[in-house]
Each structure stands twice: as structure tokens, then as C-alpha cells.
């Protein structure tokens, strides 16, 4: 049994200003490795995934022969409608592309993904030291709340 004590969900929320969900985490995303809470757990190709990765998988879905199209149905009945979290993420990404907007990020960690706009770029990060550990600078390794280095 993995220990998630002290770890918070790092799925993104917000539109103008992105930030972490910050609910207690209960799993890891099987694609990007970020801790996620029960509300943000999706099933993509037999893996638990965060809404960001699920949205990317959904975009890639029709081209991928191994893509299971029923992952939405699997989680449609869970609390707080995780399906809408994927739709929200997709809509958010679409709006960013349409308007060419780079959001501000009020989070404490970096994870690389196609939809994670602030990765390796600190210019747009407005970080408050009270909010948590400092963000990883470009070229450094990001650390989690416990100070352990995160898997790349």
C-alpha cells in the first residue's frame, strides 16, 4: 500500500490562473506521475491518469488502435463527475490555443506534459513562498513536498 500522506493533488484547476487542486492525493497518474485525488482519477488504457493526460489521450484516441473508448463510461458514475474534469481540461486547452494565452501558474511543482504550459519557464510563474516549496529553476530537478526528487 503506497503512502500518500502529506501529498496533495497536482491536477490543474483554474483558467486565467492555473493552480493545483490541492486535495489529498490517493493515487499517482500512470502517465506523468503526479499525485492525484479521487476526483481527478481517470482510467486511460488501463492506467489511472490525471485529467490533463486523459485529455491528451482523448485527443490522440481515434488514431490510437489500442485506445479504449469506454474509459469515460468507466468513471462516469464516480462522484463529482470526473468526466467533466476532462472536458474542462480540453476546453481550457482549446481556449489557450485559440487566444494564444499563457496562463500564470500558482503551483508548487512542474510536470512536463503537452498541456503543462509553464514547464521550464519561470517567467510566468508568480510564486509565493508561503504557498510551498520554490519551483524548480530551469536545468534543476523539481522536488516534491518532502524534498525528494521527482521521477522524470
Amino acid at each position: 500500500m503506497k503512502d500518500f500522506s502529506g501529498l496533495s493533488c497536482r491536477s490543474k484547476k483554474g483558467l486565467l490562473f492555473l493552480r493545483d487542486c490541492a486535495e489529498s492525493a490517493s493515487a499517482w497518474c500512470g502517465r506523468c506521475g503526479r499525485p492525484i485525488c479521487s476526483r481527478h482519477q481517470m482510467m486511460v488504457e488501463s492506467l489511472l491518469a490525471c485529467p490533463e493526460c486523459a485529455a491528451v489521450a482523448k485527443e490522440e484516441g481515434p488514431q490510437n488502435s489500442e485506445y479504449t473508448s469506454d474509459w469515460e463510461d468507466v468513471y462516469a458514475s464516480t462522484a463529482d463527475a470526473p468526466r467533466s474534469a476532462v472536458s474542462e481540461t480540453q476546453e481550457r486547452n482549446r481556449l489557450y490555443v485559440e487566444f494564444g494565452y499563457i496562463p500564470f501558474f500558482y503551483g508548487s511543482h512542474h510536470y512536463y506534459s503537452d498541456s503543462d504550459f509553464q514547464t521550464f519557464d519561470n517567467r510566468f510563474i508568480d510564486h509565493d513562498p508561503k504557498d510551498g516549496p520554490i519551483l524548480a529553476q530551469a536545468g534543476q530537478t523539481a522536488k516534491d513536498d518532502t524534498g525528494d526528487e521527482l521521477e522524470s
Binding site: 483558467l15 486565467l16 490562473f17 476546453e91 481556449l95 487566444f99 500558482y106 510566468f124
Partner: protein
């Protein structure tokens, strides 16, 4: 109005609603108001249908009555009475339909809030500061007499008479506190231009026509928390704002964008307004002018 909460009854009665509530309270209030609007529209459509059907049946019965009128003595009196009673009932139903239709038209609640405000609020819901209250002032009355800005007679041209009436309807004022204390302010003014024309057709009859134009003027401002973000002059210089958008860098570290959108609705009841994405796009533009303060300044 039965089944609706007191604030909604009051809002419909006064024609406006304002207050400072949490976003979820606003969702519930505005959702109820949108349901009221839908019910009202449905009821009005029913009255209209009733009037049209009654008019159709009455015209048929009119022909029947006209045929029967010269020969009242040849028919059984009961048939004669029944035909004219039916005429009276149909005429009554038609009047009821017309009166109901016109009466409900006078109680128009504009639909822009459900098409624009509710979806836009849902989109920025997660950007709001937790526990903060959204300040809203909504005017639901649409273009009414009190909102006439100017009325003038235009050169008639090929018309007999041409009158232009301009209504200025600031229907939305919103102020929301975003995360980290930034403030987002929106003001939306609908400007209605009504052209009433009178012309004479070749047969000498006077014909009247009304045309509407609607201009939606959106003004959005952002007042960033100066300790975290500020308006960046370099970004302002590099910004690619389209010609339709006007920019103003205000004193006190805030900036404002305004844009006009034009529509040509057939009537004021037409639900033509901007898409909520436009409001979000304007917010994106505003936020793109901001950057963290330079250390040491």
C-alpha cells in the same frame, strides 16, 4: 410566479437584481431566473398559438355564419344559437390570446445573462478566490422608455417618415476577486438602435416597419494585486490587440479593454449576444499584460 423564491420574484417585479454573493449562490439565483424566463417565453408562445388558432377557426366560422345569416328561419334555432355561441367563444379566446401575448411581452426579461453571464462565470469559477463574493448588478428590463438616450427624426429619403431611437442599457456590472487578490471587473452595455419607418406603397396605403440594431459594448478591467503582478509596459507595447479593441492603462496599476460587437436582430426579443468565449478572450488579453514585479523596483 408560484414556485419561485422571493429574490427572484422581487427581481422580476423590479426588473433588476444586485448583490454580493458567493458564485454558487449566484448560480442558483440566475439558474432560477433563467428557468423563469423559459417558462415565461413558453407561456407567451402558447398565448400566441391560442390567438392564431382562434383566429383561423373564427374565420371559418365567420364564413359559416355569413352563409347562415340570411336564412335564420329555415334552420333549427338550436343550430343557429350554437353557431353564434361558438363564434363568441372563439372571439373571446382570440382576445385572451392576444391580451396574454401582449401582456407578457411587457414583462420581457432579457436573456443575455443566461447566454453570456452564467457560462462565463462557470468558466472562471475556479479562478475566483475561495470564499470570495461576486458583486453583480443585473438590469433585466431590456430597452425600455427610461433608457432612451436619444430620439430624432432622420432625413426620410424614400420613406414618408424615419425615426431613430437609441437606447443605452447597461445590463451588467460585475466585480470578482480572483486568486491572490486580483480583481476582474466587467461592464456590458447593450446599445439598441431602433429605426421606425413609414412608407407609402403604390396603392396609397401606409406601411410601417421597425428595424433593430444591437451593439454590445464590453469593458473589462483587471486590477492586479500590486505585490504579485503589475501591468508590464513591454507586454503592452508588444501586444497584438485587434483594431476593434480599445485599450487604456489606468492609474493605480489597472488596465482596461473595451470592444464593440454589432448584431442585427429581427426584434428585441431575439437572443443575440456575444459568446461567453469572447468575455474569456478579453480576460486573457487583460491578463497577458501582467507580469510579476521586477525585484528591486
Amino acid at each position: 410566479m408560484s414556485g419561485h423564491s422571493e429574490p427572484i420574484r422581487q427581481a422580476v417585479k423590479d426588473g433588476w437584481i444586485q448583490g454580493q454573493h458567493s458564485v454558487n449562490t449566484w448560480f442558483s439565483l440566475l439558474g432560477e431566473l433563467a428557468r423563469y424566463k423559459t417558462e415565461r417565453d413558453r407561456l407567451r408562445a402558447r398565448y400566441g398559438k391560442l390567438a392564431r388558432i382562434s383566429l383561423f377557426l373564427l374565420s371559418i366560422m365567420g364564413v359559416v355564419s355569413w352563409v347562415l345569416l340570411p336564412q335564420p328561419l329555415r334552420l333549427h334555432p338550436a343550430i343557429f344559437i350554437a353557431v353564434y355561441a361558438l363564434d363568441l367563444i372563439l372571439a373571446g379566446t382570440m382576445i385572451l390570446g392576444i391580451v396574454g401575448y401582449i401582456w407578457l411581452r411587457g414583462k420581457v426579461v432579457i436573456n443575455d445573462f443566461s447566454l453570456l453571464l452564467i457560462p462565463a462565470l462557470k468558466m472562471i469559477k475556479d479562478d475566483l478566490k475561495p470564499g470570495s463574493r461576486v458583486k453583480l448588478k443585473l438590469d433585466l428590463r431590456g430597452p425600455i422608455k427610461e433608457k432612451i438616450l436619444r430620439e430624432r427624426k432622420l432625413p426620410p429619403g424614400h420613406y414618408v417618415k424615419l425615426t431613430e431611437t437609441i437606447y443605452s442599457d447597461r445590463w451588467l456590472e460585475m466585480e470578482a476577486v480572483l486568486v491572490k487578490g486580483h480583481r476582474l471587473i466587467f461592464r456590458i452595455t447593450n446599445k439598441y438602435l431602433r429605426y421606425k419607418s413609414t412608407r407609402r406603397n403604390p396603392r396609397g396605403k401606409f406601411k410601417f416597419k421597425t428595424k433593430w440594431k444591437k451593439i454590445v459594448m464590453v469593458t473589462g478591467s483587471i486590477r492586479p494585486n500590486a505585490q504579485r503582478l503589475q501591468v508590464d509596459p513591454v507586454k503592452l507595447k508588444d501586444s497584438r490587440i485587434s483594431g476593434k479593441t480599445k485599450f487604456k492603462n489606468k492609474k493605480g496599476g489597472s488596465c482596461r479593454l473595451s470592444r464593440k460587437y454589432k448584431f442585427k436582430p429581427e426584434s428585441i426579443a431575439d437572443s443575440m449576444t456575444i459568446a461567453p468565449q469572447e468575455l474569456i478572450g478579453l480576460s486573457f488579453n487583460l491578463c497577458s499584460f501582467l507580469s510579476p514585479p521586477t525585484p528591486g523596483k
